[in-house]
């Protein structure tokens, strides 16, 4: 995925939208291969409107997120309105319309990690990157998400950057982790 997607994360923050007047301007150009891929995913589920959630799961797995254009093609294939697709995308917190960063950071806030200070680690990441949970930095490098228990409680608190696991992370260690990827 190239990194030249212009995203205004504010547009997708509900509270911002309530006061804002601007329309969504996030537009990406889908190449023919991408459209073919979406068609293939929809075909896997027989273009059945009832399979919308499964289709969205697969599509998000493929693209990392669900931009408006992807939803548009899915709506077309499933013969439902794009408004309804958007309705489902916004209903489930799992689905995202914001692309993940080049290095997606996942902070475990499961019970073990939580009691050993995951929240402070999370706060440090937010402060250091100046973004909220679910957002991506404007340079597209990092995004923050929370997850529940990666099954490595012995290493708690645990942080994942991409697929790499960092154990026993302290707030003081956050900057060092980020610096490794900032190079």
């Amino acid at each position: 995925m190239s990194q030249n997607i212009k995203v205004n994360p504010e547009v997708y923050s509900f509270m911002e939208k309530k006061t804002g007047t601007d329309n969504v301007e996030v537009k990406v150009n889908l190449s023919k291969e991408k459209v073919d891929k979406i068609n293939e995913i929809c075909n896997m589920f027989d273009n059945e409107p009832r399979e919308l959630i499964n289709v969205l799961h697969e599509a998000q797995h493929e693209f990392g997120y669900l931009p408006a254009e992807v939803q548009d093609v899915i709506a077309h294939n499933l013969h439902i309105s794009v408004a309804q697709v958007y309705g489902v995308v916004t209903f489930y917190s799992y689905f995202s319309m914001i692309p993940k960063g080049e290095h997606p950071i996942s902070i475990c806030t499961g019970t073990a990690c939580y009691v050993r200070g995951a929240e402070k680690v999370l706060e440090e990441f937010k402060k250091e990157l100046n973004i909220k949970v679910g957002e991506t930095t404007s340079d597209g490098k990092f995004s923050i998400n929370c997850l529940r228990c990666v099954g490595a409680c012995g290493l708690s608190p645990v942080v994942l950057v991409g697929e790499r696991v960092f154990g026993r992370v302290s707030p003081d260690g956050v900057k060092a982790i980020l610096d490794e990827y900032r190079k």
């Binding site: 212009k6 939208k17 969504v24 408006a68 794009v82 209903f91």
Partner: protein, 592 residues
């Protein structure tokens, strides 16, 4: 059959019936809010979301929402014991706690189902205080969305997606944040909305209302430098009386004309006149295409589609841009009226078009958008300046303190007020094509049409098909009302399998009588059939019932237009269509 007891009354109903319907059969009314039904048309909304219709089922732990709970053998149901009443009141108070308290200035006040329930439940205090959801107001050329007043009944979503298949609205987000909105929460104006207005005709509150142009008209009426004329659509006269307490189906043509004169309009004209004019142009076009087809021309586009309905025009521009050369190019009666008024009539009375204000009274919300379209302007001056709905006219008459019920009958003014029965029936589904058949038959065959009533074109089924005999040549006519039905016929046209020569399409269920700007029917489909009957009565009362026999129309062609389909008629009375993409991807600026 299943037998059950509702409020100590025994009732037998079919398996699969809901408690709500069983109760109605037993003569027991259960209050509802999100539930909505137009039974004759198979339109029903029952998300079971509001919980106002809960009842107690003996032996069941919790209360049951009656609109979605099916009956079972031997059920014993209480619809109004203290437990049920308390639950309903609590639910209603919770709904109201997240609703603005500006009833005094709300466009829906007096017609609001939430307000009626609050009255019915005798709500006198609101114990629940807390955060209220806030969302931006969205104003389009026809419709205002004030989502703070939305109670998430999702009737509009049902209408927009299931009945109309427009797909402009959906419930989005979750919990307290949920709203009904277009995709990506864009403005309605940027969505595939057709402005048919069916969403606001089923909205129980003031969340969806029309853009009100009454004040613009009052300003024009009080400006002595302006000549203000008005045209009234066929369906208005069959419904306006309801707003003044008259029985549905009461014709108030004469009183309506009187009221408009009292309001100060300089001339009161009739859209039925320009409906007759539409038949002259559209009928000619139909015959031209038909003759070419019969002569073996394979290029000719058949079936021809009617183009009077602006909601329908918006729909095919969005959804069938590839078929843009199929519909008739004839303008709608509203716009034909405007074009003739600001040329022929303006010249006649010696008034500059900028000083002539043309107002239309329409059963329709899409007409507001239609009259603002660029192709219906000359140097920025609209052919029709303002379009208001039947409801807005009723409010205007009340505001002006006119005693509508005691008004004498008055006649439309000349020359744009004379009409035939063919013009009147434009208000009903099937009416335009029937009017076209009356004229096309006589012109095509050169014979007199003895029986002007085409029974096989009438009715309320969503899609109808009929054969009309044109002296040996059989014409296949298709009729659809409701955009979902229209889509089915259009898919056939696109696939090349359509058997029709001509198709009439109206965006609203029932045609214009069921338009988005008509008095609220609150789901009572009998009101629609009574309005339809009234329209046919008005037709029967007319001595002239064929458009081409309208003396004012004959004179208009003789003095001004020449022949139907002439160069002048084309430049004034025909239009073109513009493909609109349904895709949300209009501004591309990246790639994945």
């Amino acid at each position: 059959m299943i037998e059950l007891t509702i409020d100590k009354k025994k009732v037998q109903v079919e398996k699969g019936t809901t408690i709500l319907k069983a109760a109605r059969k037993a003569g027991v009314e259960i209050p509802t809010l999100c539930h909505f039904e137009l039974c004759d048309m198979g339109i029903e909304n029952k998300p079971g979301g509001c919980r106002i219709c809960v009842v107690e089922v003996e032996g069941r732990r919790n209360l049951a929402p009656s609109c979605i709970t099916e009956v079972q053998e031997g059920m014993v149901i209480n619809t109004h014991n203290i437990r049920v009443l308390n639950a309903r009141t609590t639910v209603l108070k919770l709904i109201i706690s997240d609703h603005p308290f500006d009833c005094l200035v709300c466009a829906r006040s007096g017609q609001c189902e939430l307000q009626s329930l609050a009255t019915q439940f005798n709500i006198r205090s609101l114990p629940y205080e807390g955060e209220q959801s806030r969302y931006r107001k969205d104003t389009s050329p026809s419709i205002i969305r004030d989502i703070d007043k939305c109670i998430m009944c999702r009737r509009c979503e049902m209408m927009c997606n299931e009945v109309q298949t427009v797909g402009a609205l959906s419930a989005v987000n979750r919990g307290f944040m949920s709203v009904v909105a277009p995709a990506f929460e864009m403005n309605l104006e940027d969505s595939p909305c057709t402005y048919c207005g069916q969403c606001l005709s089923v909205c129980p509150t003031g969340a969806l209302t029309e853009v009100d142009h009454t004040n613009d008209i009052i300003r024009a009426l009080s400006d002595s430098s302006k000549t203000v004329i008005v045209q009234t659509a066929p369906a208005v006269r069959a419904a306006l009386g309801e707003e003044f307490g008259l029985q549905p189906g009461t014709l108030v043509t004469g009183k309506m004309v009187s009221a408009l004169k009292e309001l100060g309009f300089d001339y009161v004209f009739d859209t039925d006149f320009s409906a007759d004019l539409t038949i002259m142009e559209e009928g000619t076009e139909l015959l031209q295409r038909l003759k070419a087809y019969l002569a073996g021309d394979t290029e000719v586009r058949l079936p021809i589609l009617t183009s009077c309905c602006p909601g329908w025009v918006n729909f095919f521009e969005h959804n069938f841009p590839d078929l843009i050369d199929v519909p008739s190019t004839a303008k709608s009666p509203q716009q034909m009226f405007g074009a003739i008024a600001k040329t022929y009539f303006a010249d006649k009375i010696g008034v500059n078009r900028k000083d002539l204000i043309v107002v239309s009274i329409m059963p329709c919300i899409a007409k507001k958008y239609e009259c603002q379209r660029d192709e219906f302007k000359v140097d920025g001056n609209q052919d029709v300046d303002y379009s208001i709905s039947t409801r807005e006219l009723a409010a205007f008459i009340k505001e002006a303190n006119i005693d509508f019920l005691n008004l004498p009958d008055a006649d439309f003014d000349d020359p744009l007020g004379e009409s035939t029965g063919a013009g009147v029936i434009f208000g009903n589904t099937g009416g335009v094509i029937e009017a076209a058949c009356r004229t096309a038959y006589e012109i095509y065959t050169g014979k007199k049409l003895e029986n002007v009533v085409f029974d096989n074109l009438r009715g309320m089924e969503g899609i109808r098909s009929a054969k009309v005999d044109f002296d040996g040549i059989e014409l296949n006519i298709g009729i659809a009302h409701g955009l979902g039905n229209a889509r089915k016929l259009l898919d056939e046209v696109r696939a090349g399998t359509s058997k029709y020569h001509a198709i009439e399409i109206m965006a609203c269920p029932g045609g214009c009588i069921g338009g988005g700007g008509q008095p609220y029917h609150h789901g009572n489909s009998e009101i629609l059939s009574k309005r339809a009957a009234a329209i046919y009565t008005e037709d029967e009362r007319k001595t002239i019932r064929k458009s081409h026999e309208n003396p004012s129309i004959i004179k208009l062609y003789k003095e001004f237009l020449g022949e139907p389909g002439s160069h002048k008629a084309h430049s004034l009375l025909h239009t073109e269509y513009f493909p609109k993409s349904n895709e949300v991807t209009l501004h591309l600026n990246g790639e994945i």
